[in-house]
């Protein structure tokens, strides 16, 4: 074993540039990266609830990648629509919030102040509120608690 042994894992990334076949309708993918997406997550949940639920129920039947393409296209279109509306109306608060998330390991609890201003702007302009599903009854959702236990060190 003193000669060079090529390994089995490839060194070059294998990328397949073949596009989808023409019989599938084309939808522009959402080009948002992880920070802005996390910032907009609850609003996408509020705005696109029906399409998201359709897609998830459809996928629950069959996890094959080619199965739920139609519902997937609807989800993408709805999310793109919401992001365009968000950027039109609340761009500065949105950028403030996702920049804060990026500086803080993408944790929500460290960025409550920009989050509050973004929630206020979204409610005023688009009528969307952030709702945490699964909050126990009678308990205030964690993003509305005035003085939480887990918080950022500086005010």
């Amino acid at each position: 074993m003193s000669s060079y042994q090529p390994g089995s894992v490839q060194t070059r990334p294998y990328i397949d540039p073949t596009p989808l076949p023409d019989n599938i309708p084309k939808v522009q993918e959402l080009g948002l990266s992880s920070g802005p997406l996390k910032s907009a997550a609850f609003f996408i949940g509020a705005y696109c609830k029906d399409f998201n639920e359709d897609f998830m129920l459809c996928k629950a039947e069959n996890r094959d990648p080619g199965h739920c393409l139609k519902e997937g296209r609807r989800v993408t279109r709805c999310a793109t629509d919401l992001i365009n509306k968000m950027r039109e109306n609340c761009l500065s608060q949105f950028q403030e919030h996702w920049n804060c998330l990026e500086r803080n390991n993408q944790e929500y609890y460290l960025c409550r102040k920009p989050e509050r201003s973004l929630n206020a702007c979204m409610f005023e302009k688009l009528g969307l509120t952030k709702v945490i599903p699964g909050t126990p009854e009678g308990q205030k959702p964690i993003h509305e608690v005035e003085s939480p236990i887990f918080k950022a060190i500086q005010k």
């Binding site: 990328i15 397949d16 073949t18 990266s33 390991n105």
Partner: protein, 85 residues
């Protein structure tokens, strides 16, 4: 009686060495993460999202705001391959 200032030199040295190495580590990690603090407690979801960020922006910590991705984004995912022959 004069203050034994030579005895404080090691304290000073140790403090400076801790400070310099900590600063260098901080600068190095921030430079690798585009000026942002390093991400910790990364799970599989975060790793997948960072891979997607790399496809979108070219860097694992790069972020973009624009809903329209760059031209070849849809077909730019990397397939994990292994040579079996």
């Amino acid at each position: 009686m004069p203050v034994p200032w030579e005895a404080l030199i090691p304290f000073g040295l140790v403090t400076i060495m801790f400070g310099v190495s900590g600063t260098l580590l901080n600068v190095s990690t921030r430079a690798q993460n585009l000026g942002k603090p390093v991400r910790h407690n990364i799970d599989n979801w975060d790793e997948m999202m960072m891979r997607r960020d790399e496809q979108l922006t070219g860097h694992k910590r790069g972020q973009r705001d624009d809903p329209t991705p760059r031209a070849g984004f849809e077909t730019s995912s990397v397939w994990y391959t292994e040579k079996t022959t």
